[in-house]
Symmetry: C2
Subunit: 394 residues, 2 copies
């Protein structure tokens, strides 16, 4: 599989500028004009940063899950070439004598509650989220007031191609990011707009509006924290029930109000939506997947399609979980037109998500179950959106 | 003046949460949950970063124009408190043993061709760009194909409040960033949307569309550069004529084609504009100001209002400059409804801009001339937009 990825990537990596003599090229996530990081033909990447007086410089791939020591050259620059990387998107940081920060050569992305660097490793399978010569929708940055939180909030809204020219009404997918990210993630990291543009152009998905809110809402997300966390990886939700209970109480109740009482009415008032449950979907990744299932089951009056991508999902007993919202399986199956759950074989949440799938099976709750390849990464979530969106509003 | 700024800021800095016992608070540009950097009541700011093994850590305010050595505490954190800062927006970096990068406590902004940190120091005078309980427009991220550059390009488009609800047509302001920034700058750093929302709500400016393109176009901006520049401050345009000639050739001609041949037709085709010169303005800051005057004078068929904020402007002889476009002053004065030029007294471009103003006076070219307080910073450019926009399309 790795070999196939690499081969495809070699064949397609910027085919137009990849001559026989070219052995490496700037990553597409570089800031304009930056030579490094560079992608090599075996899909390894070479990183290079300046840190003249540093004693130790490291590359923290996936925010520290994989660490490389960088080597100092005579000119004050530090360099390292990684092992071949999986095609797709990778968060990373540079650590210089214990200062963990961004690489000046790359664009930043909001993750783990801070700005981090990202590197895109393109391959043939990147085509579905590439910008192509098809009609394009737009991403709108909108402001609206939430009574639930008492503040103006920023949302990102994808409107499909032609939205400004026609007078049609559209269904809406509410689509959420994961822990530590924000409302920009699905466009900036996820390329939701190009995924939908391409699906719509190929007549594979119905034209739809997509709304991204900020799920990092509530006291659990805005404590007076320590000045800087020592670990650079986000804490992962514990699969224990007590942790799930805590998450539900602190993380889900307030955001439920934001979505159900403030956001949906705002969207229906300000966009040409089809304002009924048959034309509303709610989905998300990781924490956002857990939020989507929880809030969706609590609001079957609002949503009839639910999606959970590598979700923080800890279902063990459909008779009791979600305050009994799954207990009457016939009723749930009648109301829910789609419950889509996907997780990668290398995902640290595979266990609880698979357990949730089995509990749903046992409880007679119909759902689409996808166990894909991949880990807890955007590479997987982009593919999930590409698989999920065509199943909506048909 | 400094004292007045500080006093106003103390009185108004987040008035709702600023109790008598509160001596400092998180900056509004911090990532959510980050305690540092903190703003103190005298408008100084305290920065704190982790760099356990570092030997020397510095704060580079304004990307190095003002440098502070940080002091190490026993817990591996480094800290420094600045002198009182001017209210407004400041770019900055952290340098740890020669590794110049972003502060994990702050949001990043694109400047000097890379991602850098920013800190907002709020004050009473920040009110005009604050989000308020008024109708809000939206920022749209759009994609369009430029034949001039042969690529899909990303633009930001502000649509005024009510644009989606009404069927009116609107005038358009094309508004450009400075060297090393990009099309996101006027919304992210500049808050153009809230400035216009507030002006429109107060009936001080006509509702208008604003379009932001990326002016870093052309071979001068995309060379295969050195891996990392040693200096962290952007090279400033030289006021010499030969440099100005070079800039004109390499920096302006291609972007002229992007604007005049590709962008204006796209905007007129996809937005409800009033598609004539009487309802089009072109303005920009620094390099973008120079571009606006150059491209605007070359396209008086397209634009009748021009704005130059702290511009890279080197006019010495209106009979010869811009290939004679200013030579017939009566004709220019008849065609241009507004030529607005502003620069701060502490701006490094004050000399050439003032010289350009004097040359225009001598040449009989009517223009509005504003010599304000302030340096070459976003704090000034936000105010300029707030002054300039009400003069458009009246």
């Amino acid at each position: 599989m790795r070999f196939k990825h690499a081969l495809l990537a070699i064949l397609t990596l910027c085919a137009s500028c990849w001559g026989q003599e070219v052995k490496s090229q700037s990553a597409p996530t570089n800031v304009p004009g930056s030579e490094f990081p560079r992608l090599n033909s075996d899909l390894s990447a070479t990183f290079r940063v300046q840190a003249e007086q540093a004693q130790k410089v490291q590359l923290l791939m996936e925010l520290g899950q994989s660490t490389y020591d960088m080597a100092k050259s005579t000119d004050g620059f530090w360099e390292v070439t990684t092992k071949p990387l999986l095609p797709g998107f990778h968060y990373y940081l540079i650590s210089a004598d214990g200062f963990d920060s961004t690489d000046p050569g790359s664009r930043t992305f909001f993750a783990a509650r801070k700005e981090v660097s990202g590197i895109e490793v393109p391959a043939a399978e990147s085509e579905f989220f590439a910008i192509k010569d098809v009609p394009h929708g737009a991403i709108r940055i909108e402001s609206y007031f939430s009574k639930a939180t008492g503040e103006w909030r920023r949302i990102f809204v994808y409107t499909p191609p032609g939205y400004d020219q026609d007078s049609e009404r559209y269904p809406v997918l509410y689509l959420q990011h994961g822990w530590g990210e924000d409302e920009a993630a699905w466009s900036h990291q996820g390329h939701e707009n190009f995924i939908l543009d391409n699906l719509i152009a190929a007549h594979k998905a119905k034209p739809m509006i997509i709304v991204n809110e900020n799920g990092m809402t509530g006291i659990n997300f805005a404590p007076p924290p320590a000045p800087r966390s020592v670990t650079s990886t986000p804490p992962s939700p514990s699969p224990s029930r007590s942790m799930a209970d805590t998450i539900r109480e602190e993380r889900y109740v307030l955001f439920d109000s934001v979505i159900s009482q403030d956001l949906v009415p705002f969207i229906d008032a300000h966009f040409r939506t089809i304002p009924d449950r048959e034309h509303r979907a709610l989905a998300g990744l990781s924490m956002g997947g857990g939020q989507s299932v929880r809030i969706g089951l609590n609001h079957l009056d609002l949503f009839s399609y639910l999606g959970a991508f590598s979700p923080a999902l800890f279902i063990t007993d459909t008779a009791k979980d979600y305050d009994g919202a799954l207990a009457d399986s016939a009723k749930v199956n009648r109301r829910l037109r789609l419950l889509w759950i996907g997780v990668g074989g290398d995902d640290f949440l595979l266990g609880p998500v698979k357990g949730s799938h089995e509990a749903l099976e046992k409880g007679g709750i119909k759902h689409v179950w996808v166990e894909s390849s991949g880990a807890h990464v955007w590479t997987v979530w982009r593919k999930y959106l590409n698989d999920f969106a065509p199943k909506l509003f048909q």
